[in-house]
Amino acid sequence: MSVKKIFPLIVTLFLGASCMHSIHQVHVSDFDPYGSFESGKIVKAKTEQFVIMGFVTESNYVDKAYRDLQAKCKDGRIQGITTQYITSLGFFSWTNKILMQGLCLS
């Protein structure tokens, strides 16, 4: 095969084999009780679940993200929580990710 032909194939392979992602869902919770952006701070919690050929390694990663978010705003209230569910595709495996962000009002 000539270089001219193989080069586009290598580029395609490089792009396609690099990590690609899929955002399944972005949910925004309610903002009640209302508080301004200045009156609080943004808190984040991110957890992952690695799946290899259908076998999962962490089955309570969503609960863990929820607990982490709660722990980051002790004695406070969290409003406007955005929850993102993402999958990073991979070689015979993939990683499910949960990202929760909100405004902690203390």
Binding site: M1, K5, L9, T12, L13, L15, G16, A17, S18, M20, H21, S22, I23, H24, Q25, V26, H27, V28, S29, D30, F31, D32, Y34, G35, S36, F37, E38, S39, I42, V51, Q79, G80, T82, Q84, I86, T87, S88, L89, G90, F91, F92, S93, W94, T95, N96, K97, L99, Q101, G102, L103
Partner: protein
């Protein structure tokens, strides 16, 4: 004649696979219609370009003349598929963080944090080979009646739309 036929076939393929908006998920929050506040609608949109390598492979195969090239493309596509395993919504994108700042954008849109009637939409604009993977948040910013009258006279009451794309300025 032969090349004309090929071009015609390609056109048919393009038209056949072309579609427009595809809705994946939508969710609605509560709606506070407190008479002390006026509701100003807003819309936030972030998007990223998705690349469908499977479709790209099909197009490349349709365009290539030699059987060897078609075989090579098949091989490459097979390898790519091995590297892209997992559940997917829409077409995969190169960035996972394009929707991460949406919480900050929400507060920029409504600094008081008095937001209600939120609708979260995950949709896709599908084109041949590429797609626009969109996350859209619609809602209402609650403004006290007096300040709402001022802002209405300034903006003439039209919905405020803010769009952001990580790859290109305009959402595809």
């Amino acid at each position: 004649m032969n090349s004309c036929l090929k071009f015609f076939n390609l056109l048919i393929v393009l038209v056949a696979v072309n579609s427009c908006a595809v809705l994946h998920k939508t969710q609605v929050g509560d709606l506070n219609d407190d008479p002390k506040f006026a509701l100003r609608p807003f819309e936030l949109k972030v998007s990223e370009t998705g690349v469908d390598f499977e479709e790209a492979g099909k197009v490349a195969k349709a365009l290539s003349r030699s059987k060897t090239a078609q075989k090579d493309i098949d091989g490459v596509m097979g390898i790519i598929q091995l590297f892209q395993q997992g559940p997917r919504t829409g077409v995969p994108v190169f960035s996972e963080s394009y929707a991460q700042n949406i919480v900050n954008d929400l507060y920029k849109e409504c600094p008081s944090g008095r937001v209600t009637g939120l609708v979260s939409i995950r949709e896709m604009r599908k084109y041949p080979v590429i797609s626009g993977e969109i996350v859209k948040i619609k809602g209402y910013c609650m403004l006290p009646r007096d300040s709402a009258q001022k802002s209405n006279s300034e903006s003439n009451g039209s919905p405020k739309t803010k769009s952001k794309s990580n790859s290109k300025k305009e959402t595809i």
